[in-house]
């Protein structure tokens, strides 16, 4: 009754092609943004800001990047952690080696380096696909793990093997407190989400989806597989690289290759599967789910009045993740995002079922 497009007429192509064609959606997004930018910084404790919201935002961004590759283009990748690491270490090198390098520029350049590596490891996708490609991307994972651990140059010859950044600031504004970090990440996420959303609606996005659905047919109708796949790798690893740089710079501050291990790659893949393959919104749902689930699992025994050891809790967590992956693949292959859109569909028809 409240959520439908009746009476909302469009008189121009521009209006017809906007991202959110329904006025209620636009209002909802505006409200969401206002809450995220104004209410949350005022009303949320520093702990939540630092330990939950900032990681959530950065992981959403990484999941978004991965979703472009896996969800939209159908190229499975287990090397997301590697591309995050490339972004982080490249940004670090720009930051320490070039005097007066602006923070945003080094983050974006980190993303560009990740793009180069991503395209490089995406080249095998022109000949192989599916699980073979998964193994090829695993090669990226193991190789970068090793490179950043062993090659001293990347870490600016730090003796401990870990690198750290401090004194972040953008245009003279310091990025130090949890609120500032949160807002900084939020701006990145909003901009990239908007760009990604538009990108997947555009010609190139359609090419990716055609590639994913049936590559031979796509090639027949004139889509160049090389171009489509490599752009997907490029865009995806750019976003993932920026997310990695943010993860290192803003969230961790100091890190070593273990921060971008293969577990991170799997975690991101799970976010994409649970959130929804081929959905921008889904990346956020998935990230929220995977960031919040461990917290919930840690709290749950306390609420129920018994306690479990941390080891058991972490095993339970792995178990539940595994079970959920299978569950989602069977019951709702499109993930939480599909539940969301089903809900919206129902709401449009409400109160009449048809």
């Amino acid at each position: 009754m409240f959520y439908r497009e009746n009476g909302q007429f469009k008189s121009s192509y521009r209006a017809d092609q906007q991202i959110f064609p329904i006025a209620q959606d636009r209002i909802a997004i505006l409200v969401l943004l206002l809450v995220a930018f104004i209410v949350v910084p005022l009303g949320v404790s520093d702990y939540w800001m630092r330990a939950i919201l900032t990681p959530f935002l950065i992981l959403s961004l990484a999941a978004l990047g991965l979703n472009i590759l896996v969800g939209y283009c159908g190229q499975i990748s287990l090397g997301t952690g590697a591309f995050m690491a490339v972004g982080a270490y490249a940004a670090y090198n720009f930051q320490v080696r070039i005097d007066g390098m602006p923070l945003i520029a080094s983050l974006l350049l980190g993303g560009l380096c990740a793009t180069v590596i991503g395209v490089l490891f995406g080249i095998p996708s022109l000949r192989i696909k599916g699980l073979y490609l998964a193994v090829a991307t695993l090669a990226a994972q193991f190789f970068t793990d090793w490179a950043f651990l062993r090659i001293q140059w990347f870490t600016n010859n730090s003796s401990s093997g870990s690198v750290s950044v401090a004194g972040l600031n953008v245009f003279g504004v310091p990025i130090e407190s949890p609120v500032q970090k949160y807002l900084f990440c939020l701006i990145f996420v909003v901009v990239f989400a908007l760009l990604a959303k538009n990108l997947v609606r555009s010609a190139i996005g359609r090419e990716w989806m055609a590639m994913r659905d049936m590559d031979v047919a796509a090639a027949v109708i004139g889509i160049r597989p090389v171009y489509a796949k490599l752009t997907a790798f490029a865009v995806s690893s750019f976003i993932v690289g920026v997310a990695g740089a943010l993860w290192g710079f803003v969230h961790l501050g100091a890190w070593e290759p273990a921060a971008f291990s293969i577990d991170r790659s799997f975690q991101l893949l799970f976010m994409v599967i649970i959130g929804g393959l081929g959905s921008i919104m889904g990346s956020f749902f998935g990230a929220a789910f995977i960031v919040l689930l461990p917290l919930f699992l840690n709290q749950l025994p306390g609420w129920l009045g018994f306690s479990i050891s941390t080891a058991l809790a972490s095993h339970l967590e792995t178990m539940i993740f595994g079970a959920l992956i299978v569950f989602f693949l069977i019951v709702e292959p499109h993930g939480l995002a599909r539940l969301w859109s089903t809900g919206k569909e129902k709401l449009r028809l409400w109160p009449f079922p048809h």
């Binding site: 192989i128 599916g130 090669a139 193991f142 792995t318 595994g322 299978v326």
Partner: protein
């Protein structure tokens, strides 16, 4: 020369162990077209079950004999693996019949996580040992030919023999029995196999049980060498490039791929490692497989089933 040969043999032996795990991958792929990411988790699970049962049974039933404990534990662990196979078929795979390969791949990733969690919850997460009485002393051979002779680990030799035996048994099973034929039919085309009356469900339970069996064997051998602990499930990540190199559908490919990777890893670590900063074992296998994929996507002995893009 002696040192080179020793490295070579060391590599061959490690490679044999990789092959053992790789065979599990190949079995499931061959017989159901599923690339089983959970093979590593199954190896860990089986080894944990074996190690813990061998520890528990003497306490529960009050006997001393290590041999008896091992035999009972082996049977029990095998039973557990069959149950696991049945549950996987029941709860996951039967619901995903005729889905795309990629969905199945991700499902096995989920299964891997689940098994890791369950295994460590039930059996604990310390380091356990499996003692099946493998000879530990190294063997000195060819003392006359080289100065200092060649040092070979007897343990590794036994492992190699076991792997060879396993391969022979599996080859006979696949080629000569009716069940093996049915397995191959299912691998070619689920729907076609189903329509000529091959019970898909039973076949999948069988093949996952067989993979569980090979996981158990691999787990016991790795476990008695290194101890049973979580890192065992990561060894399986080493077996991935092995199957890629050898070809996904070929058991001989898994063996030769394993040997190549084992040898390549050791030799590259010794001779290339110092130039590159050491520790290149971690990625050598993957990069080798990657380069190989570009040249020959189906692997050494694989069937040409990948549709080129």
């Amino acid at each position: 020369m002696g040192f080179f040969l020793e490295t070579l043999f060391g590599g061959l032996m490690v490679g044999m162990l990789y092959s053992l795990i790789a065979i599990g991958f190949v079995l499931i792929y061959k017989a159901s077209g599923v690339f089983n990411f959970a093979q590593g988790a199954m190896v860990l699970f089986a080894a944990l079950a074996m190690a813990r049962f061998a520890e528990w049974f003497p306490q529960w039933f009050g006997f001393e004999s290590q041999v008896l404990a091992n035999i009972l534990a082996f049977i029990a662990a095998m039973g557990v693996m069959v149950i696991v196979a049945w549950l996987i078929e029941r709860l996951a795979l039967s619901k995903l019949v005729n889905q795309e390969g990629i969905t199945l791949l991700m499902a096995t990733l989920g299964i891997a996580y689940f098994l890791d969690g369950v295994g460590q919850t039930i059996f604990g997460n310390d380091i356990y040992k499996i003692d099946i009485g493998m000879p530990k002393e190294p063997l000195m051979v060819l003392q006359g030919t080289f100065q200092g002779g060649l040092l070979l680990s007897q343990e590794d030799l036994v492992a190699a023999l076991v792997a060879a035996g396993l391969v022979v048994v599996l080859a006979i099973f696949f080629q000569k029995t009716a069940t093996g034929r049915a397995l191959r039919a299912v691998a070619d085309d689920h729907q076609a196999a189903q329509s000529i009356g091959i019970p898909l469900k039973r076949i999948w339970v069988i093949v996952w049980s067989v993979a569980g069996f090979s996981a158990l064997v691999a787990g016991i051998i790795w476990g008695s060498k290194l101890g049973v602990q979580f890192s065992l499930s990561l060894v399986a990540l080493k077996a991935l490039p092995v199957v890629i190199l050898g070809g996904l559908t070929s058991i001989p490919g898994a063996i030769i791929g394993g040997l190549l990777i084992g040898v390549g890893e050791k030799l590259s670590e010794i001779y290339l490692g110092p130039m590159l900063g050491g520790g290149i074992e971690i990625w050598f296998a993957y990069v080798l497989a990657l380069v190989f994929l570009l040249v020959r996507p189906q692997g050494l002995f694989g069937e040409k089933i990948i549709d080129r893009v």
